[in-house]
């Protein structure tokens, strides 16, 4: 693909490419969509997640109260109190409002590390798998070191050493999820690398970069992506767990894990209000898990 083609030639090439990709995607993605549509559980989970996503994005519009405005005289009201459908927290703030706002940080901290790890891990894993030899050794042996730590411990260790804060927590979680993504990316890339069409491309003079871009990435991104989606559920639990330990968000910022922590002392007064933030984490986490399972089946990814 030379950069010095005339505009019309470049346009023509783009058009051809677009046509090809449309033609290709119709076959595969239409099949995936057809399988997904016959899977009511996955669709239901996707719908729940979509509703939650919209609710937390538009929290300022739909939240009935101010998330920071507390009141000493209406602390820890029960679920179903007038004006406070889900009760109030230990500082008299409206629970529904804080749950809506809290979801923003919880989702952000649950998804961002996986996204970052997906990009970095895919890069390193494909590099290791495609280059082989010493590069592979160097990357995979480094990965082994991180596998020698249980994931919760690694996340707590790194963010504990770096100190509390959202950025540090995201950094720690990203480091936790890079190694497993590298392993998956490396193994699928190694599998693809030895297939005939890669040899054919190499024989016809394609550069290593072109082979990776056209032949390898197209075949490995799907499985790596599906695997990464399965990590969102774990990441969400871990991220909220870090906040629960006081390593993530700081008060008065609403975040489900932190809310759960500050409400712990309230379980003797309003137990069912106190466990609400955890229920939100649970619902989100289980939906992401089932969605990932559904995607894996629909995309026919093994593993």
């Amino acid at each position: 693909m030379s950069m010095s083609t005339t505009p019309s030639a470049a346009e023509a090439e783009l058009a051809v490419q677009a046509k090809q990709s449309v033609a290709k995607s119709q076959g595969y993605w239409a099949g995936v969509w057809k399988r997904l549509r016959r899977d009511p559980l996955t669709i239901a989970c996707a719908a729940v997640l979509l509703v939650m996503f919209l609710a937390i994005v538009f929290a300022p519009l739909i939240a009935p109260q101010d998330p920071y405005q507390g009141s000493m005289i209406r602390r820890l009201r029960a679920i179903g109190t007038t004006n406070y459908p889900l009760g109030t927290d230990e500082l008299g703030r409206d629970m529904l409002t804080r749950l809506l706002y809290g979801g923003r940080l919880s989702w952000f901290m649950g998804i961002t590390p996986v996204l970052l790890a997906f990009v970095i891990g895919t890069f390193l894993g494909v590099l290791a798998g495609f280059a082989g030899g010493k590069v592979n050794m160097a990357i995979m042996r480094t990965t082994d070191i991180f596998y020698a730590f249980p994931s919760v411990l690694l996340a707590v260790a790194i963010s504990g050493a770096l100190g509390a804060g959202i950025v540090n927590a995201i950094l720690a979680l990203t480091l936790v999820f890079i190694p497993p993504i590298i392993r998956v990316a490396e193994s699928v890339t190694t599998g693809v690398r030895n297939l005939d069409f890669v040899d054919a491309a190499r024989a016809s003079g394609a550069s290593a970069f072109t082979i990776v871009r056209v032949h390898v990435l197209g075949n490995v991104l799907g499985p790596i992506f599906v695997y990464a989606t399965s990590l969102i559920s774990v990441c969400m639990i871990l991220a909220s767990g870090l906040s629960f330990l006081g390593l993530g968000t700081k008060p008065p910022e609403p975040e489900w894990g932190l809310m759960l922590n500050t409400l712990r002392t309230a379980i003797y007064v309003q137990p069912w209000v106190a466990v609400l933030p955890g229920a939100c984490i649970f619902v989100t986490s289980i939906c992401f898990n089932l969605l990932s399972d559904g995607l894996r089946q629909a995309m026919d990814v093994k593993g």
């Binding site: 042996r141 082994d144 070191i145 991180f146 020698a148 730590f149 249980p150 994931s151 919760v152 411990l153 707590v156 260790a157 790194i158 504990g160 050493a161 770096l162 100190g163 559920s233 774990v234 639990i237 909220s240 767990g241 629960f244 330990l245 006081g246 390593l247 894990g257 759960l260 712990r264 379980i267 003797y268 137990p271 069912w272 106190a274 466990v275 933030p277 955890g278 229920a279 984490i281 649970f282 986490s285 289980i286 992401f288 898990n289 089932l290 399972d293």
Partner: protein, 317 residues
């Protein structure tokens, strides 16, 4: 086999060293001067310089790592900033408590996981299968620190059957195997058991289902073996992989119990870590992580060796 054993142990050495290096680096990546991890912040300047020389903190990083490693190898994990006691003295008791909790949780989780997974794998597509899969998904999706709170609400607050925190009537006093102490173990162990239960259910279901599809099972059925007889053959084939997964889960429980220990104020390594984080007591943080990670490395090695010994097909040497 002996050759494999030796080679596998030799392979574990660089991993253990690297794990040590990561733990060493924890204090280095911490904001501020690493000297603050050794002397209190209000120490006079000349004392700080003296300690800096004594600890070799004026030397290059690789040399520092060597010094630290030789101390650790001799069992010296440093002193706690908060209490002034040696890290190991606090850690040794905490590890026993965490190990007890992890073993109790794995007994519950593995038993339930094997039963559910075995039933689900044998009767694929049945009601039992669907129920087991649902339980497994819920088990791996539940934030266990939250589940702990819910169990406390139900069994401590509402029903008043079981204590909500601590490891004994006196809070965290001496452990004894009587009901007064054991009842403190019930809720944390059940809470910690849900994740391994989910994972073991999933794994065992997969393994059993795969084995049931193999030809030798059809052959056994064809020669008229009873259900129980076939079951024994299936178990024998499933055991190595299932045990490997369970062994690793025990390691994850040891390292992952921090959240549950925090919820229940269980006096183990998790609570120790939690306090160390709050007080920015880096020597305790570093020592605890190091010991837990080394335990995990050793367990990994043990699982590998046991799996090889159990399964004659894995002739890896």
């Amino acid at each position: 086999m002996l050759f494999y054993l030796i080679r596998r142990i030799i392979y574990a050495i660089p991993i253990a060293l690297a794990v040590g290096f990561v733990c060493f680096m924890l204090v280095q990546i911490a904001p501020g001067d690493p000297i603050n991890a050794i002397v209190p912040a209000d120490a006079p300047g000349d004392v700080v310089e003296q300690v800096r020389r004594d600890y070799g903190l004026d030397k290059p990083l690789p040399v520092q790592f060597g010094i630290w490693l030789s101390k650790v190898a001799q069992g010296d994990l440093g002193r706690s900033l908060a209490t002034g006691r040696s890290v190991w003295s606090d850690l040794s008791g905490a590890i026993q408590n965490t190990l007890m909790l992890a073993i109790a949780a794995s007994l519950i989780g593995f038993t339930l996981g094997c039963v559910l997974g075995g039933l689900a794998g044998t009767f694929r597509g049945s009601f039992v299968d669907r129920a087991a899969v649902s339980v497994a998904v819920a088990g791996v999706s539940v934030p266990h620190y939250w589940l702990g709170m819910v169990l406390v609400v139900i069994f401590s607050v509402q029903l008043n059957w079981l204590p909500a925190m601590g490891a004994g009537p006196g809070g965290s006093g001496d452990w004894a195997w009587d009901w007064e102490h054991v009842k403190h173990l019930v809720l944390p162990a059940v809470t910690l058991a849900v994740i391994p239960m989910g994972i073991v259910t999933r794994t065992v279901r997969g393994i059993i289902a795969e084995i049931m599809n193999q030809e030798f099972v059809t052959a056994l059925r064809g020669k008229g073996l009873t259900r129980g007889g076939i079951f024994l053959h299936v178990v024998k084939n499933a055991a190595p992989n299932a045990l490997a997964v369970m062994g690793l889960q025990l390691g994850y429980l040891m390292g992952g119990s921090i959240l549950v220990e925090t919820v229940f104020s269980w006096p183990g390594t998790g609570l120790l870590l939690n306090n160390a984080i709050f007080q920015r007591d880096l020597p305790v943080l570093q020592g605890t992580i190091l010991v837990l990670a080394m335990f995990f490395v050793a367990l990994n090695l043990a699982v590998d060796l046991v799996q090889t010994a159990l399964d004659p097909r894995i002739k890896r040497a």
